[in-house]
Symmetry: C2
Subunit: 341 residues, 2 copies
């Protein structure tokens, strides 16, 4: 199967110096894939000049003159009709690519995707969903920052979308859904969680109940539902902690020659651990709920390795026929009245 991915090369903290080398590495490991580099042609061309002929034939540059800034407000984003982000998403809309990947402004990506690629019937907004590693395997957490203010109905729709994703990707027909809260008891939480819990209980989803922050990495449920504010803070706090612990470990192994020797002795194991715990390995969140194509959000600060992982995830999603499988699953979940049951 031929997979074409449109890449917003200008997005993210680093732009083309990260996104272009990441694309070349991705094409080397995915011989069936093609890539459309979207962005300022004069910046992109020099970066691909030295690529091997075998890669160049699968690499296309699509000029886009504008760039969406990381903190740019919606009105100003909407006015940029020729931004690399919008052009990449429209390549998916027009069928020239099956997936788009961007490390740019999250709010802008959610907004433009929603207009360009539409959501499934019954789904109001796309959510940012991430397969987080757990002690048992992984859990799909959403929303991780796409929707900062949510109603109970939005949280419920996140549960539906997460269920569709898990059943489409993991062959798990009835994945468990946990609602993130400050305690497991029924009286805990705020109005939002309590009202959302009622919707979940009345549905045919496999609702587990309230879970707490530490349940995420324990892998207590297959899906973790929360509003985008809480999810974004939890995700970024985790990244910060992982970095601090890595710093502590480097410092401890750097305390004098004996400690350094011990670090050398244990290096192969420490390397395996580092690889397993590297947040970059888990880069690439799906914009879940879009019916018109696959959109992956990379971390804004991703390096080339991390951005390559996001591209690989996009290719996986296309190869797995994610959108069609979610649509099929969606239809079986819809009641006769067109409402999600």
């Amino acid at each position: 199967m031929n997979i074409t991915i449109a890449i917003d090369c200008m997005g993210g903290d680093h732009g083309p110096v990260v996104t272009v080398p990441a694309t070349l590495a991705f094409l080397r490991s995915h011989p069936d894939a093609e890539a459309i580099l979207v962005g300022r042609e004069e910046e992109l061309t020099p970066l691909v000049e030295k690529a091997q002929a075998g890669l160049k034939s699968r690499l296309h540059i699509h000029n886009a003159t504008q760039v969406v800034g990381m903190g740019e407000p919606p009105a100003s984003v909407r006015a940029k009709k020729d931004s690399s982000m919008r052009v990449a998403l429209h390549l998916v809309r027009n069928g020239q690519a099956q997936a788009a990947v961007s490390a740019g402004n999250t709010g802008a990506l959610v907004m433009i995707s929603r207009f360009a690629l539409k959501t499934f019937p019954g789904i109001d907004r796309p959510a940012i969903c991430f397969a987080l590693p757990t002690i048992k395997g992984h859990t799909y957490a959403l929303d991780l920052g796409g929707n900062v203010e949510c109603t109970p109905k939005h949280l419920f729709q996140f549960g539906v979308m997460g269920t569709m994703l898990a059943s489409a990707l993991d062959h798990n027909d009835s994945p468990t859904v946990g609602l993130l809260n400050v305690g497991a008891e029924e009286i805990k939480g705020n109005d939002l969680t309590r009202q959302a819990a009622e919707l979940f209980r009345a549905s045919n989803l496999n609702y587990y109940g309230y879970i707490e922050g530490d349940d995420i990495f324990k892998g207590t449920t297959d899906i973790v539902v929360c509003d985008g504010f809480v999810g974004n803070v939890a995700l970024k706090t985790s990244e910060g902690l992982a970095k601090m612990l890595a710093t502590f470990m480097r410092e401890e192994f750097g305390r004098g020659p004996l400690s350094m020797l011990m670090g050398l002795a244990a290096m192969p194991v420490l390397r395996r651990f580092k690889h397993r715990a590297n947040p970059g390995r888990y880069n690439g969140a799906v914009l879940l709920g879009l019916s018109g194509g696959v959109v992956l959000k990379s971390h804004g600060s991703a390096d080339a390795y991390a951005f390559e992982q996001a591209l690989a995830r996009a290719a996986d999603a296309v190869a797995n026929d994610l959108i069609r499988r979610i649509r099929d699953r969606m239809e079986t979940m819809m009641g006769a009245n067109g409402e999600i049951a």
Copy 2:
């Protein structure tokens, strides 16, 4: 200086089997301290029988017949006039102890403390505040679960309380206050953060601006302010991640004899790292804003080592004359109209 601590021995997931041994260990390392063990006499007496005479003379048992359950609703908590939690707090109120420590139900502890020990003028509710480790040192984060629904004014008061704590404990007269958000740009966030930001900007606090989740452990600001829902999720998610990484590391060092040998070789460094990263070491959150005495909240699942840390923190706070110093600082921050400026 003589320090007496009242301990809610029945609270937490484990009760007296954890709290009593922790108290004995605490008394051994704090020769000037005394402890009042509050709880069911018949359960506590056998646990202290074998203690050395030197400890026994500094150990008192205060009978309390009731126990507050971990998920018990407020109305039912209020009816338990002889709960170990309430009795411990009233020992502080009556001056028989300077501090109380509990691993019990957080909501109940906040509610009873507020009635028994009162908040400072201008402070509506006590907040749960924790000195989290950072790459640079530590940061005071609040609220971590005491107040699940907050107004902008509450968040602002948390900033005031955090400022008082940092200036009282760290000799830092103008600590920086960061408001936890999903992005650093002014347009990011929800109504709560945007309105709270206005209050901070108009105040004489050293307001840094919005910070993101990863800024907590980076140590970007001296104080991190958030509502109790977000703070509790961030804290518990961090705990879960730390445990998962510890599991990954054990698994990697357990993969066959060679890896185990490497683990042995690096053991001294790994032990130092483990000690530094051990969440139990950082146990014990202050109920900040109370004017009548020091109250420390231990993690519900704390083991004896972790509970002992919470006791040591309580003793530190008393030895540092925390309440008086906060009161002094509070008075200098009050405007002529009795409002916090």
